[in-house]
Each structure stands twice: as C-alpha cells, then as structure tokens.
C-alpha cells in the first residue's frame, strides 16, 4: 500500500479511540511544553546577563586589591593598596584607552527635607566614557572639576526621583554627609546590574573631592577601571596591569591584586546560564522520555487488542511492511500531534513566565526544531517495538486469537 494510504488507516484508528489517544499524547504535550519553556527561560536569562555585561561598558578591565584568604596576611602592612599614582602609571601602558580610579563609599544624601541613603563613587571624568554612561539631563563633570576638587556630582535616576521628585535637580545643591555638592546632571537609566543591584542608585563625583571630603582617614581603598583600545588588546593589557601593580608594590605576589575583564565576566555568566539551561532542559527531557514510554505502553496494549484486526488485514493482503508502518505511523502521529500541541502550550507558558518576570523571553526556532525532531524520534523509537511485534504476528494464530 502507498504510504499515504497507511497514514490514512493509522489516523483513522487513532480517531476511533480519542480519549486514549489524547491521554497518551498528554505525556508528550507536557514534555515538549516543558522543554520549550525551559529553553526559553534559559535563553531569556542568558540574554539579560549578556545585556547587563555589555552595560558595564566596552572592553572594560577592573583592578582591585585582594584582601581575602592568604593574601590578607601578607598584605597586613597595606602594601597592596592601589594608589592614584598607580593609575597615572597605567595610562602609559600600550593598548590602554582610558583609566579612572574608583572610590566607593556611601552616605546620607539630603535635599531640603528629603533624605536618601545612596552609594557614592569618586571617579575621574574618563569614567563616563569607560562605562558608556550618558547624561539624560544637564551635563557631566569634566577633568578640570577633578583637578580642582570641585564639589559637583551627577546623580542616577533613582537618587533624582527620591530626592527631587518632580523638581528639576540641575544646579541644585544636595548635601552628601553634610558636604554641599552641586548637581550637574542626571544619568541615563541603566536598570539592574548582573548582581541584582540598582545601577541608578548612584552619585558620581570627582575622586579628588570624594577623597578629600568624604573618605575617612583609614578607609581609602581604591579600585581602578580601565578600558582597552580594542577587544583583542584586553588580555595583554590585563597582564600588563597586574605586572605594573606588582612592580610598583614591592614584595607583593600576583595573588594580592585582582585584575578581571568584562570578557571573563561575560564568559563566566554565560557558563552559568548555559549550565542552567542544560539543567532545565534535561529535566524537561526526562518528562518527554516518560511521555515516550507512555506511547510504547499504549501501543503495546493496542497491538494486543487488535491482534484479530491485524490477522484480518494480513489475510486480505497486508504485508509485514504495511502492518509495521501502520503502527509506527500511529505512534509517530501521537508524538507529532503531541509535539505540536506541546509547542503551542510551551509558547503560552513561556509568554506567561516572560510577562510575570518582565523578561524578554525568546522561543527560538531551534528549540522548536529540537522538540519536534525529538518527539518524532520518540515516536519512532517507542513505536518500533510494538509495531515490530504486530508485524511479526503469525497469521493463523492472529486469526484464531480470541
């Protein structure tokens, strides 16, 4: 018989027992939907991480002193504290585009009656270029402000909202730990960081001013942020910075400084989200497998139930191949229909998850291709044994079967 005719027969016998067909399909539907949703969530998470890593800036390298583990004992004298002179020395390194010291601190911010606790970064004017920061309102501060230690700052959206509300913050004076600073500008919104903190909850001021006015005598730990001229320079520059720091701080080991790059961070983040995606997908895959076993189970029952039918078909001219194909096609039809419904359900579920978590969730074509081919393979794989059993029935025994 033509394959077309066999397909027709297979579909007909599936529609004869709709409830059972649907229940069998349910295993595949849930499995495929789970795979699609899990992959979509994994991809969505990955995309968010990627966006955030790139929001750090372009070709960024960060250096800071390591105070943890064994390094802390060796550095008891503070021999590994990075200084502004170190940063100046770095500016001569090959492949370096910008460099800026970063003092991180936090404190009470005040404007008229309003209070806000925020983090404060003391940086060079180049910092804005390193981190691709742009201004939404007003303007940035400049090199001259840094040189003169001017009491100016730019503030993030969160700070602006909390201190000013509807008032225009530009050129207003806020008090940071009671020191007056003039607001130059408001930064363009950046959203949450990889670590989950609000990147707009920030006050950025010249590092000279922060150093002189805001830092206590003892806590003057500084880190450095640098941008390389191009991506392929990053690795070399990273090593040069580490060498430079070690050379300038006698008696320190390479463990006492941490020089990391954005690409490294991106790779780590990628690895984490890939691992998560694989984990989610394999859990979903297991449910698909269980669905497949359900198909095999039902097909075996169905073959036993229909021994007589098989005998009749063979008596009037159905060959082994016809019977084999009929049952395999029944199994494949169940799994493919289940696959299609599963894709639709998975789409829906991914959409709901995406909306509730306000993620931009992506159902990729390859995840559809994957689950369709996987469910088809399951149909063939788990349909094969029952179909083979049907095709190998002895004709006389099949006709006599009660």
């Amino acid at each position: 018989m033509s394959i077309f005719g066999i397909i027709k027969i297979a579909l007909k016998s599936l529609t004869r027992n709709k409830t059972r067909t649907f229940l069998t399909m349910l295993g595949i539907i849930i499995g495929v939907a789970a795979v699609i949703t899990m992959l979509a969530i994994g991809q969505g998470a990955k995309k968010i991480v990627e966006d955030q890593v790139s929001s750090m800036g372009t070709n960024v390298i960060m250096a800071h002193s390591n105070f943890s583990g064994t390094a802390v004992r060796q550095a008891a004298g503070g021999g590994n504290l990075i200084t502004v002179d170190d940063v100046e020395a770095m500016r001569d390194l090959d492949g370096l585009l910008y460099a800026s010291p970063v003092y991180n601190t936090w404190g009470q911010l005040k404007y008229e009656g309003k209070n806000w606790r925020g983090s404060i970064a003391g940086v060079d004017a180049d910092y804005f270029f390193i981190r691709n920061m742009s201004i939404a309102q007003g303007e940035l501060f400049y090199g001259s402000d840094v040189e003169n230690g001017n009491k100016v700052c730019v503030i993030g959206k969160t700070v602006a909202d909390n201190l000013f509300g509807d008032i225009d913050p530009i050129d207003k004076v806020i008090r940071i730990r009671n020191i007056p600073f003039t607001v130059r500008g408001v930064l363009t919104e950046k959203g949450q960081s990889v670590m989950g903190h609000d990147q707009d909850d920030i006050v950025i001021a010249p590092y000279t001013t922060v150093f002189q006015r805001l830092l206590g005598r003892r806590w003057r730990v500084m880190s450095v942020i640098v941008s390389a001229q191009s991506k392929d320079r990053i690795h070399l520059l990273q090593q040069d910075i580490l060498d430079l720091l070690q050379a300038r701080h006698r008696g320190t080991t390479s463990e006492e400084f941490i020089v990391s790059s954005q690409t490294e961070l991106a790779e780590t983040a990628n690895e984490v989200s890939n691992t998560m995606t694989i984990l989610l997908a394999s859990i979903a895959g297991i449910s698909l497998l269980v669905g497949g076993i359900g198909i095999m189970n039902i097909m075996l029952v169905s073959v036993t139930e229909r021994v007589k039918e098989i005998g009749i078909r063979m008596a009037v001219g159905a060959g082994k191949r016809d019977v084999l194909l009929q049952f395999i096609i029944e199994a494949i039809s169940i799994s493919i229909m289940g696959g299609i419904l599963g894709i639709l359900l998975g789409f829906g579920a991914a959409k709901i998850v995406g909306n509730t978590m306000s993620w931009n969730i992506a159902v990729t074509p390859w995840s559809i291709a994957l689950s369709v081919s996987f469910s088809m393979a399951i149909g063939v794989f788990f349909g094969w044994y029952p179909a083979k059993k049907a095709a190998n029935l002895n004709l006389i025994d099949a006709l006599r079967y009660e």
Partner: protein, 247 residues
C-alpha cells in the same frame, strides 16, 4: 470451463506440539478446475481448516507441492504469498471477521487498499458493486454491529469477491447462522458460481453440502472420498419452499 486452477501433490501439514507430532494433513493430492463449487466435509479435527489455510496461502505446508494458476506456491516467501492472497483468493470466515467500527463499504474496500492498482474512486465503485452483487448495497454505511449475522456474512462475501479473485475460500460460512439465513448465504455462493466463480467451501452439514457440485471428505488428515454431485440443490428454490419464519 475445464481449465486447471490448482493442483496439490503430497500436501502435508504436521504441527509439532512438544513431544507429539499432530499430522493435521497427510499426502493430499487434488486438482481443482476453474468454475467448480466444492464442499469440503469431514468430522471435527479431520483437517478441513488446515487444508483451507494451505489452499488460501495463509499457512505453508510442511511437505508437498501446491500449484496455483501454474505458479509454484510452496516455494514462495511469505511476502509473495501476501500478494497471492490479495490478488487471487477471497476469504469468507465462520465468524465474518469484519473490522469493527468500520463501515460495510470500507470493510469491502480493504483488499483493494492493499493492492496498488486502483484510485480511491475506483475502489469505492468496485466495493459498491460487490455489495450490490451480494444484495446489501443499501447497508453500505452501516457498521458491523448494526448488521445481522447474515448481513455481516454478505459483507464478508462482498469483501472476498471485490478484488475479482481466482477463487473463493469459505470456512464454515454458515456455521454461525440459522437455517434460513444459511440458505440465503448459499444462494449468494450459487449465484457467484453461476457467474463463473470458483468456490471452495468447508462445512460439516450435509444440508449445506447439497448445494455444491463436488464433495470432498476428509478423515484424519486424508481425503477419503471425492465425488461429483450430479444434482446440486438450488438454494433459490429451497428458499421459496421454506415456510416463512414464525419468530
């Protein structure tokens, strides 16, 4: 009319049941011409069904040879036998063997589905024609469970003739039917016979065998008699003479 349809020589079938060998059929030599109407008779267990299964290529002989339309069937593979069954043989069974939840028409179409030749339209037309021949065209859309036993057997006969086979094999086709319905079914077979079909029919009722032109009797797997019935009864006449069923 006297052309050779099939011939067997030393046809034997032995079933091996553990230690015991059951000789269901021993050394059967027979020739059948086109256009014959044969009744195969014998006691229960005498080998009638075994013989039918071999003639119908449903089973292979343990020994012996079988020519059908000058083809050596005993040398064929099971795949080749499948084609022979489909093209040359029409089966009618005691318990009808119709596919459940499948309309009469679709049941009749079944053998055509497994032969490559015809289109969907041709299949339908042929099946309809076969149903008309057995006089049950008005029930073509009924499912088997909506038909009486006699009607189901007519559908089965229609299925047997739809592919225009060389001969029809019927294993106790009236075994599950009452007297009147049995005669009606025999009338259908006689009509097919008049139209030139070869019919081989198993029965252990003398009443039924009367309608055939040749009687072959088995005992213990051997043919013990093979006689021509010079005056076969006419089922149409018997039907007319039969008092109407009182119910």
């Amino acid at each position: 009319m006297n052309t050779l349809l099939l011939e067997t020589k030393g046809l034997s079938k032995t079933y091996i049941m553990g230690q015991i060998n059951v000789h269901a059929l021993r050394d059967v030599d027979i020739t059948v011409n086109n256009g014959e109407f044969i009744a195969v008779m014998g006691a229960s267990g005498s080998g009638k069904t075994t013989f039918m299964n071999l003639l119908g290529c449903l089973d292979k002989p343990t020994e012996g040879s079988y020519w059908l339309d000058e083809v050596e069937v005993h040398k064929m593979s099971s795949e080749q036998l499948t084609v022979i069954r489909n093209e040359k043989i029409g089966f009618v069974f005691q318990s009808f063997y119709l596919l459940p939840r499948t309309s009469a028409l679709e049941n009749v179409e079944l053998p055509l589905l497994y032969s490559k030749k015809s289109s969907a339209q041709e299949r339908k037309a042929k099946a309809m024609q076969a149903l008309e021949i057995v006089g049950i065209a008005d029930r073509s859309t009924h499912f088997p469970n909506q038909l009486s036993g006699g009607q189901q057997q007519r559908v089965a006969i229609a299925r047997a003739i739809v592919n225009d086979p060389s001969f029809i094999l019927a294993d106790e086709p009236t075994g599950n039917l009452d007297t009147r319905t049995s005669i009606e079914v025999m009338a259908v077979f006689q009509q097919l016979h008049r139209q030139g079909k070869t019919v081989v029919l198993v029965t252990h009722e003398q009443e039924i065998a009367r309608y055939a032109n040749r009687h072959i009797t088995f005992r213990d797997g051997r043919i013990i008699s093979d006689i021509i019935n010079e005056n076969p009864a006419d089922a149409r006449v018997d039907l007319k003479n039969l008092p109407l069923e009182e119910d």
